[in-house]
C-alpha cells in the first residue's frame, strides 16, 4: 500500500518516540515505555495500512464539549481525526486507552492533529485526555476499562459486513488485555460468526502495571490460545515493518486476523531498562534521574536534551 505521507514509516515511529519523550520530560513522567513498544505499530497503521479519509475535526482540538446526553445535541466523538466513517474506509479502535499519549503523538506525526494538541494533554477542560475518552482525538469509544475493545470492533465489523461495507475494522490491543476473560469471549465470537473483516495488532511487550506479566499473572502461549479460540494469528517482531506488512497479508477466511507484535518496552530508549520491571508509567524518582534520562534518551533519539526548566 502506498504511503500517504512525505515521511517514511520509520521516521514517523521515531517522531512518535521523540514527541512522547519530550512530553514525559516536561511533565516529569509519562507513558514512555508504550511509545517504545508501540511506535512502529501505530506508525504503520496510520501511514500504510489503514485506508482513512481526511480529518473532519479541527487540527487544534476543541475543548471538552460535554458527555453524551439528550441535552447535548452537538456532542461528537474524536473519531473525526481518523476521517469520516465511510463504508469503504477503515476504522480503528485504540483498545488500551492509556496508550492515548502515543496515539496522539501519532496523529501529530501523520498530520491529523496539530502539535498544540499534545500541549493540551491531561489539562483541565481539555478533550485530549490522559486516558483516551471517546471525545478525545482519534477515539470513537471509551476503552479505559480494558478488555472491551475487541468485542466492540467485532460487533462493528459484523454489522459492516452485513451492510456490505468494504472497509476493515482494526483494533490496537495490549497484551494485558488477554488476562481479561472478555478478550477470549470476543475471539470465540468473532470466529463463530466468521467475522473476517476484523483485524487486531497487539503490543506484546510483556508488561503490565505491576511489572513483568509473568510475575503478575502468567498468560502462557498467547498465539496457541488465540488459535484455539478461532483466530488466525501471526507472531512477528513488532519493530520490523516488513514483518508487519507481510502479516497483514495472511489469509484468514472466516476468521479474524490477529497480529502479535512482540516488542521491547525500552526500544529506542535503552536507558529505560534501568527502570525494569516498573515501566508502566515512568515518573522520575529524582532530579538526577530525570537529568540522566534526559541526556541519555535524547542522545539515543538523536535530539537535543529537553529544556524542561519552567515545566512541571
Amino acid at each position: 500500500m502506498s504511503r500517504r505521507n512525505a515521511k517514511t514509516t520509520e521516521e514517523i515511529a521515531l517522531g512518535i518516540r521523540r514527541r512522547v519523550f519530550e512530553h514525559a520530560m516536561r511533565n516529569n513522567g509519562g507513558y514512555l515505555s508504550q511509545a517504545c513498544s508501540a511506535a512502529e505499530q501505530l506508525a504503520w497503521l496510520y501511514n500504510e495500512q489503514l485506508e482513512l479519509g481526511a480529518p473532519t475535526l479541527p487540527m487544534i482540538p476543541k475543548p471538552f464539549g460535554g458527555v453524551p446526553s439528550a441535552d447535548n445535541p452537538t456532542y461528537h466523538t474524536g473519531a473525526g481525526y481518523n476521517g469520516p466513517p465511510r463504508s469503504d474506509l477503515d476504522r480503528l479502535f485504540i483498545a488500551p486507552a492509556h496508550y492515548a499519549l502515543v496515539a496522539y503523538a501519532t496523529l501529530i506525526e501523520v498530520e491529523r492533529m496539530a502539535p498544540e494538541g499534545l500541549e493540551m494533554f491531561n489539562k483541565d477542560g481539555s478533550s485530549v485526555e490522559m486516558i483516551g475518552a471517546e471525545h478525545s482525538p482519534g477515539m470513537e469509544v471509551h476503552n479505559g476499562t480494558l478488555g472491551i475493545g475487541f468485542s466492540t470492533a467485532a460487533g462493528l465489523a459484523w454489522a459492516r459486513k452485513r451492510k456490505k461495507e468494504t472497509g476493515k475494522t482494526w483494533v490496537f490491543m495490549s497484551d494485558g488485555e488477554v488476562q481479561e476473560g472478555q478478550t477470549w469471549e470476543a475471539i470465540q465470537c468473532a470466529a463463530h460468526h466468521g467475522i473476517d473483516n476484523l483485524y487486531a495488532i497487539m503490543d506484546v511487550n510483556r508488561q503490565q502495571c505491576d511489572g513483568a506479566m509473568n510475575t503478575v499473572m502468567e498468560v502462557g502461549d498467547i498465539k496457541t490460545k488465540m488459535e484455539n479460540f478461532g483466530a488466525v494469528v501471526v507472531s512477528i517482531d513488532g519493530h520490523k515493518l516488513d514483518e508487519m506488512r507481510d502479516a497483514a497479508k495472511e489469509k484468514h477466511k472466516g476468521k479474524p486476523l490477529i497480529i502479535l507484535a512482540n516488542t521491547s518496552p525500552f526500544r529506542g530508549m535503552p536507558t529505560l531498562q534501568r527502570r525494569f520491571p516498573r515501566l508502566h508509567y515512568v515518573r522520575f524518582k529524582s532530579e538526577q534521574e530525570r537529568a540522566e534520562m534526559n541526556h541519555d534518551i535524547a542522545r539515543a533519539l538523536g535530539v537535543d536534551p529537553i529544556d524542561y526548566a519552567g515545566a512541571h
Binding site: 471538552f64 458527555v67 453524551p68 446526553s69 486507552a97 491531561n122 483541565d124 477542560g125 481539555s126 485526555e129 490522559m130 486516558i131 475518552a133 471525545h135 471509551h142 476503552n143 479505559g144 476499562t145 480494558l146 478488555g147 494485558g176 488485555e177 488476562q179 481479561e180 476473560g181 472478555q182 503490565q208 502495571c209 505491576d210 506479566m213 510475575t215 503478575v216 499473572m217 516498573r278
Partner: protein
C-alpha cells in the same frame, strides 16, 4: 436512640490541616499482620492502591490476580468459604462494574467476609468515565447484605481496615490514598455518624471528600449568621434512620447533602428516603453529579466544574434559605482552617 459520640477536632491543627502521607499503606500492613486470616488480593494496581511495599515484604500474604476482576471476586468468595477474609484492592469501579454478577453470586448473597477496598472514589481520579466510580454507593446500597463505608480523612483511612473487618458479611469501602488531610482524631465507629456542628438553621450532610468542602463552607456560612448543623457519614449502609431523623427535626430549615457521587442513590437519596418514610415536611437539596457522567481532569477542577465543592454547597444553602448570602471564594479559603477545628459539643437528643 442510638448512642452518640462527640467528635473532637484534630489536635495541633490550629496552625493548619495536617496532611498524612499514604495512611492506608501503614494501616493495612499493621492490621493484616495482626490477623492471620486476612489476605491481600490485588488486580494489577498494586502500587496505585499503596500495597506495593506489603507485596514485597509479605509475599505469602499477597495474592496477585492480574487484570481479571471477575475472577478475583468469585475467587475471593471461594477463599471466604475456607475462613479467610480477603481484602481486595483495585480502583473502586473495577470492584463492581465488570464483576457485578460475581459480586452478587459469589460474595453478597452468601454473605462472604470479603473486604472490597475501592480506591479513587468518584472524581478523585483524572481517568475519566471508565475510572470514576460515581454510582458505586447507589449500586451497593441496592445489594442486600452489603455494608458500605466511606473514608473522609486520614484517621478514617487509618481505621478502615479494622472497621471493615468487623463486619459480619461483605463490605465495600471508599478509600482515600496519597496525601490525605487529618480532620478527625477518633477512629471510625461503624454505624456512628460524626456530629461536626450542632446548629439549628440548616442541616448539612456529607461524606468522603465533601466533608472537607463543608468544613470550608461552614465558617463562611456561620459568619453570615447561618447556624449550621453538620454531620459526616462514614457508614452509609446499614443506616440508623432515627438518629438522622432527630437531627433533621432539630433544624428550622431543611437539609443539604453534598456527595462525590451522582445525586441518585447515594446519601442524598438516603436522606430523601428517611424524610419521606417519616413524613418530614422539610426541603432537601441534593448536591453531587447531576445525572451526568464526568470526564477526566484534576480533582479541584472536577469538583468545581460539577458543583461538588464548598461554593456549590453555599449555593445549595442559599437555595434552601431562599436568599443570597454574599459569600465569596476568599471567604471559603479563609474558613478552611478554622472551620475544621470549630469546637463541637455533644448534644443529648
Amino acid at each position: 436512640m442510638a448512642a452518640k459520640k462527640k467528635t473532637a477536632p484534630a489536635k495541633g491543627a490550629q496552625t493548619g490541616v495536617e496532611m498524612v502521607n499514604r495512611p492506608y499503606e501503614r494501616a493495612f500492613e499493621k492490621y493484616a499482620m495482626a490477623h492471620p486470616e486476612v489476605m491481600c488480593l490485588s488486580a494489577d494496581l498494586t502500587s496505585s492502591c499503596e500495597i506495593d511495599k506489603f507485596r514485597d515484604k509479605h509475599p505469602d500474604k499477597f495474592i496477585s490476580l492480574g487484570m481479571a476482576e471477575q475472577n478475583m471476586l468469585s475467587f475471593a468468595g471461594g477463599m471466604g468459604m475456607a475462613g479467610y477474609r480477603p481484602f481486595l484492592h483495585t480502583f473502586g469501579v473495577f470492584l463492581y462494574r465488570r464483576p457485578y454478577d460475581q459480586l452478587m453470586a459469589s460474595v453478597a448473597y452468601p454473605r462472604r467476609k470479603v473486604r472490597l477496598m475501592g480506591f479513587l472514589p468518584g472524581v478523585t481520579t483524572p481517568g475519566g468515565m471508565t475510572h470514576q466510580a460515581i454510582e458505586d454507593i447507589s449500586v451497593m446500597r441496592s445489594i442486600p447484605n452489603m455494608t458500605i463505608l466511606e473514608t473522609g480523612d486520614a484517621t478514617e483511612v487509618e481505621s478502615i481496615c479494622e472497621a471493615a473487618d468487623s463486619i459480619d458479611g461483605p463490605v465495600y469501602c471508599r478509600v482515600l490514598r496519597g496525601s490525605v488531610p487529618r480532620l478527625f482524631d477518633t477512629p471510625i465507629q461503624v454505624g456512628q455518624m460524626r456530629e461536626l456542628a450542632l446548629g439549628t438553621d440548616v442541616l448539612i450532610v456529607t461524606s468522603g471528600i465533601t466533608t472537607e468542602e463543608a468544613l470550608r463552607a461552614r465558617g463562611a456560612l456561620e459568619a453570615k449568621g447561618v447556624s449550621v448543623r453538620h454531620l459526616h457519614l462514614n457508614t452509609i449502609k446499614p443506616f440508623d434512620a432515627q438518629a438522622m431523623l432527630d437531627h433533621i427535626q432539630s433544624v428550622k430549615g431543611g437539609v443539604v447533602t453534598l456527595e462525590n457521587h451522582v445525586t441518585e442513590g447515594g446519601i442524598g437519596s438516603l436522606l430523601a428516603e428517611i424524610m419521606a418514610d417519616n413524613g418530614v415536611g422539610k426541603r432537601l437539596v441534593r448536591l453531587g453529579l447531576k445525572d451526568t457522567y464526568a470526564h477526566g481532569g484534576s480533582r479541584p477542577y472536577l469538583m468545581k466544574f460539577y458543583g461538588l465543592d464548598a461554593t456549590a454547597l453555599v449555593a445549595g444553602v442559599e437555595t434552601l434559605l431562599g436568599k443570597k448570602l454574599g459569600i465569596t471564594e476568599d471567604d471559603l479559603t479563609i474558613a478552611r482552617v478554622e472551620a475544621v477545628h470549630s469546637t463541637v459539643k455533644a448534644e443529648g437528643l
